[in-house]
């Protein structure tokens, strides 16, 4: 019987299945960070349980860490305690940790692929909803809660029921200035934030195939914003090339065998999906969000939508609330919206290719006098590479701040936050109320669009830069 990629990975990991369909599935790789793990380790301690396979778990502090000089430690007491607790737990339970001042430290979803910890065909989990990022390698990767983190630590398995299969095909050509970020925003705008609920999504089509591995990570990263816990892409030569020689990638004979297996990871030709969505590449423009949900997208050439035209009462109310929170009037041209802050970084767009693309557009230019802007590389290794290429200098010369790696202003758990009513063009993944700071107003954009906004001080079409 023909199978989807998700079917294949699922079957490969089935440890036990109850009559009612509840399954126990094996977890190959577990990523841990400081925010969603302390209660899990505490739970183990209270029950006198051990970590079953400590070598399959990798830990890193990322959510809380300051992005300014941290050689002297963390000022905020609660953040410091959380990071120290992670350190203590990793030591006690034998889990490998990339600590704050380790150059391999970074956002959990950036360091996994960077180290080769992320591999095709695996089940990867983390107490973080953006775990879907790793699906770019053809792995089944999804976010879990803290109780499940504890469950994985204790048993190296998870209790799950199988999701439905959805395929999203993006075919055709992307026009100039349109990036992976616009592709995923377009998808979310099309199916809505609950469109993928209950599904695992496979992204396919020639547009997806042409994307680089890092661009694919951007697409898979925001699958959760469309409601699906996991999004994946069949691995190909680019994937294998990316993983070759990475520190934790298989070596020698293992590499050869792994490669042979990885090449079997695709959805069979005549397999059935429960749902298929088709999107044309040429229909995608550079996008920006205008509201407080990632589905609230508009082309940069568009206007803020008018709730008066909305027929559904609940949706109308939600739009009005969003516009009030965002301080926007219906029918305003998107490109007339002034910006105060620029944030480039996050697990969505904090990789080296993102920084290269941004720096390329920025070279020789200055940011507008009415904005303040920062770049937060996704990891210490991304930062190091960027500095080798002189990218830091381009940013700094233009007026950007060049920071230390971490989640930073994507969720503002550390001091990097928006002030009330401050408006930000952000390469992150969520524009929820208060996400980047109480009262802060977030417009989600691609790195190129963030640069265009930085230069002009208002949302700007990247194709005009």
């Amino acid at each position: 019987m023909s199978k989807t990629l998700y079917d294949k990975i699922w079957e490969n990991h089935l440890v036990h299945q109850q009559d009612d369909g509840t399954c126990l599935i094996y977890v190959d790789r577990h990523l841990v960070h400081e925010v969603t793990s302390p209660q899990a380790f505490e739970g183990l301690r209270l029950q006198n349980r051990k970590v079953r396979r400590p070598e399959l778990t990798l830990a890193v502090p990322d959510h809380n860490v300051p992005t300014t000089d941290r050689s002297k430690g963390i000022d905020d007491e609660e953040s410091r305690i959380q990071v120290e607790t992670l350190r203590k737990n990793c030591k006690e339970f034998g889990v490998e940790l990339f600590d704050v001042n380790d150059k391999r430290q970074g956002i959990v979803h950036i360091i996994g692929p960077e180290q080769g910890f992320t591999q095709p065909g695996t089940v990867i989990v983390c107490g973080d909803s953006h775990t879907a990022t790793h699906g770019a390698f053809g792995s089944l990767a999804f976010g879990i809660g803290t109780s499940e983190v504890e469950h994985v630590l204790a048993t190296q398995t998870l209790i799950q029921k199988k999701s439905k299969n959805m395929r999203i095909n993006v075919n055709g050509d992307l026009s100039k200035g349109v990036t992976a970020k616009d592709v995923i925003l377009k998808i979310i705008g099309t199916i809505g934030t609950a469109g993928g609920t209950g599904y695992v999504v496979e992204f396919a089509g020639d547009v997806i195939q042409r994307l680089s591995v890092e661009e694919r990570m951007t697409v898979c990263n925001m699958t959760i914003e469309a409601g699906a816990r996991a999004g994946l892409i069949a691995p190909d030569e680019k994937t294998f090339e990316y993983l070759k020689g990475k520190t934790m990638s298989p070596k020698g004979e293992n590499w050869k065998n792994a490669l042979e297996f990885w090449k079997t990871l695709y959805s069979d030709k005549d397999c059935k999906f429960d749902k298929e969505i088709n999107i044309k590449g040429q229909d995608i423009e550079p996008l920006v969000t205008w509201g407080t949900s990632p589905q609230d997208v508009s082309p940069i050439t568009g206007v803020v939508p008018d709730p008066a035209n909305e027929k559904n009462e609940d949706r109308k109310m939600a739009m009005e609330r969003s516009l009030e929170y965002m301080g926007l009037k219906a029918n305003t041209k998107i490109s007339d919206i002034k910006i105060d802050k620029i944030f480039i970084g996050s697990c969505t767009n904090g990789r080296i290719e993102d920084l290269r693309l941004a720096a390329d557009l920025l070279k020789g230019k200055k940011i507008s006098s009415n904005v303040s802007a920062m770049v937060v590389p996704g990891s210490g290794l991304v930062k190091e590479q960027a500095e080798k290429e002189g990218i830091d200098k381009i940013f700094k010369d233009a007026g950007f701040e060049w920071r230390e790696p971490g989640c930073s202003m994507c969720l503002g758990m550390n001091p990097d936050q928006l002030k009330p009513k401050e408006r930000c063009a952000s390469t992150s993944n969520r524009n929820f109320e208060g996400r980047q700071g109480r009262g802060g107003r977030t417009h989600l954009v691609s790195p190129g669009m963030a640069i265009a906004a930085a230069i002009n001080g208002r949302l700007t079409d990247v194709r005009k830069i």
């Binding site: 440890v15 094996y26 396979r53 070598e55 398995t157 609950a194 609920t197």
Partner: protein, 202 residues
């Protein structure tokens, strides 16, 4: 885990759709290393103003809704981050049941691990229940029978049988899975034979 069988309470109604976990419990409260104490910060930005003063007309600040143990809300409740702090905060506040026409997957799962019953029910019933909540009268949840009773009406709801059993009996997931330890051992032997690169240090 606390057992869940029946629950009676005056329900509160939050009319918003897409209530995300950032709304349920904002980031500044995620710095805790405990599961408890989050109830006072539940829906923080809707319950308190910039100066930390209580916003009187927010539903959960009003009598008798401030003692609600059942929350009714718009669709796609709990979307966004995987933070289990969201169900911890609801539970610590006293809310043991959330009713909506749809939930985000991770939040839905997290509820069951914390003795909270999320009830997925058709939109029409959600509308009726939200209307009913204005009466300030108790409604009753019977998990065993999978029923919501309000006034003289009864609505049935669906729930996964295994999740239902765990909730009713207050079962510990990990203990259940550890009973299958020999199957896990065997599975790992299979990995070692077929794909040894997956088991590091082996």
């Amino acid at each position: 885990m606390e057992k869940f069988k029946k629950l009676k309470s005056i329900p509160s109604y939050l009319s918003l759709q897409n209530i995300d976990t950032d709304m349920i419990i904002p980031k500044q409260f995620l710095k805790t290393i405990k599961r408890t104490g989050l109830g006072k910060s539940l829906f923080y930005e809707m319950r308190y103003d910039e100066n930390g003063k209580i916003i009187e007309d927010f539903i959960l600040n009003k009598d008798p809704y401030d003692k609600s143990r059942i929350l009714i809300a718009g669709k796609n409740f709990g979307c966004g981050s995987s933070r289990e702090h969201a169900p911890w905060a609801l539970s610590d506040f006293g809310i043991k049941c959330v009713i909506s026409s749809s939930f985000a997957d991770i939040f839905y799962n997290n509820c069951f691990k914390n003795g909270i019953l999320p009830i997925k029910i058709d939109e029409q019933t959600v509308v009726e229940l939200s209307e009913y909540s204005k009466r300030k009268e108790e409604i009753e949840i019977d998990l065993e029978k999978q029923e919501v009773k309000y006034g003289n009406k009864i609505s049935e709801f669906e729930v996964d049988l295994f999740k239902k059993k765990c909730l009713i009996e207050g079962l510990d997931d990990i203990a259940l899975s550890l009973e299958k330890i020999s199957q896990i051992d065997n599975f790992e032997k299979k990995i070692k034979a077929n794909s040894p690169w997956l088991l590091k240090n082996d």
